[in-house]
């Protein structure tokens, strides 16, 4: 019934050294963790390694989990940090965009989408899986993460703010920008995932 309470029980058992409890937690969260890694790294192979690394680190850091946020929020935050560390190390060779958006400052206006250059029937109805994938991969990494957390994981703004360490206002504006950029990528046809520069800020 109460999933949160059951999960809390499992977490407490895992902290106390019950590895099968931790295994159950992993089974319950592996799809979320794997897909976040997949979205961030852009590669199935890297996503596999990153997910394993994130879970192993979570196991070692369990004693530090204070139950102040939900377990999945804590796990997402840890996973996202593991991925960002990885992207920093790997920035030169990666085949997905590792840029962070640079338009997060409060008060900055959202730019209007380009006037639609294509007839309506050519738009999303005809988007293939691959084109959407490419449009997603071409987004800056912070846009990819926030769309994953919001659209796929259906997390409330508050949780997203906790995971990414940003205020709710920034969650909202970043989501709006991410969506506008995603649409631009879809429309432009210039979905080249080979993105240029990478500037990873310390955060």
């Amino acid at each position: 019934m109460n999933q949160t309470r059951d999960e809390e029980k499992l977490v407490r058992a895992a902290v106390a050294g019950d590895d099968s409890a931790f295994e159950q937690l992993m089974l319950a969260h592996q799809k979320q963790v794997y897909n976040l890694c997949l979205r961030m790294s852009g590669s199935a192979e890297d996503a596999f390694d990153l997910s394993q690394d994130a879970f192993f680190r979570a196991w070692r850091a369990l004693g530090q989990y204070q139950f102040e946020a939900g377990f999945s929020t804590w796990l997402f935050r840890l996973t996202s940090n593991v991925c960002i560390d990885f992207l920093r190390k790997k920035k030169r060779e990666s085949h997905v965009s590792l840029t962070f958006s640079d338009d997060e400052e409060e008060g900055k206006e959202i730019s209007l989408p380009d006037p639609d250059p294509l007839p309506e029937e050519l738009l999303l109805s005809r988007e293939t899986h691959g084109e959407l994938q490419a449009a997603m991969d071409a987004l800056p990494v912070d846009y990819r993460v926030i769309l994953q957390l919001r659209v796929v994981e259906d997390l409330p703004y508050e949780d997203i703010g906790r995971i990414l360490g940003i205020p709710i206002g920034t969650v909202k504006s970043r989501l709006a920008r991410a969506r506008i950029q995603l649409r631009k990528n879809l429309l432009s046809g210039n979905n080249s995932p080979f993105c240029s520069s990478m500037t990873v800020e310390g955060r």
Binding site: V15, G17, D19, F22, E23, M26, L27, Q30, K31, V33, Y34, N35, L38, R39, A44, F48, S51, Q52, F55, F56, R57, W59, R60, A61, L62, G63, Q64, Q66, E109, I110, L112, P113, P115, D116, E120, L123, L124, S125, E127, H129, L132, Q133, A135, M136, L147, Q148, R150, V151, V152, Y157, K172, S173, L175, A176, R179, I180, L182, R183, L186
Partner: protein, 217 residues
């Protein structure tokens, strides 16, 4: 309403985060703005599509982590064994010294039932084992040494005023440096049970490098 404002509202609408008032205002705008209507439709389609990009993790993911965890447990067990044998050696040496001092010792024979306990407590003792699993974890996680002090609820003047994190078992975790760590180790090894946990991999022993002190209740 300008299109710019509408775009922010469209994003919030997709999140189901609009108030009734905002929703009405957006609807009014959409009715006479085909461009924004199109944006809403396209984004709705795109977000439905994003769900289809999700993949199933390989079956080997969780078993792989479990394997790593078992290996880590074995490593820790070895480490713990090392601390125990070190402790036993030190205690034995202290017993020998006392017996020798009292003129009771008869080498090479050494009776296990000799009145030895008097010496223990004044030597480098081993802090409790299982409850400090977390210390080994912290050492590995932070790549630094962790000094566990069974201070029985007392705080140490060296740590006064420093920030600490309270662990689930009530232990206090102080993040400090190697100078403080070795100072405490030297000053209190006669008074409290003390254990140092080291990370499995290499770590810095520089005086100013990070080190942790865990005050166990």
């Amino acid at each position: 309403m300008m299109c710019e404002e509408a775009l922010t509202l469209i994003s919030a609408k997709l999140d189901g985060a609009l108030t009734k008032q905002e929703d009405d205002a957006l609807q009014a705008h959409l009715e006479h703005c085909p461009e924004c209507r199109r944006v809403l439709q396209e984004l709705t389609d795109a977000e439905n599509g994003i769900h289809e990009l999700q993949a199933d993790p390989p079956d080997t993911l969780v078993p792989g982590v479990m394997k790593k965890i078992r290996r880590e447990r074995e490593k820790r067990a070895e480490r713990k064994g090392f601390f125990w044998s070190a402790g036993v050696l030190v205690s034995a040496a202290a017993v020998l010294a006392i017996l020798f001092g009292m003129g009771l010792i008869k080498l090479p024979g050494f009776d296990r039932d000799a009145p030895a306990t008097a010496a223990i407590g004044h030597v480098y003792e081993i802090a409790g084992s299982d409850e400090h699993e977390s210390a080994a974890r912290i050492a590995d996680e932070r790549d630094c040494a962790v000094l566990v002090v069974l201070s029985k609820g007392k705080t140490l003047p060296e740590l006064e005023g420093m920030e600490y994190q309270t662990m689930d078992d009530g232990a206090r975790l102080y993040v400090t440096d190697n100078t403080v760590l070795s100072g405490i180790e030297t000053a209190y090894r006669g008074d409290y049970a003390i254990t140092v946990y080291e990370p499995a991999g290499p770590y810095s022993t520089d005086a100013s490098a990070e080190a942790c002190v865990l005050l166990a209740p």
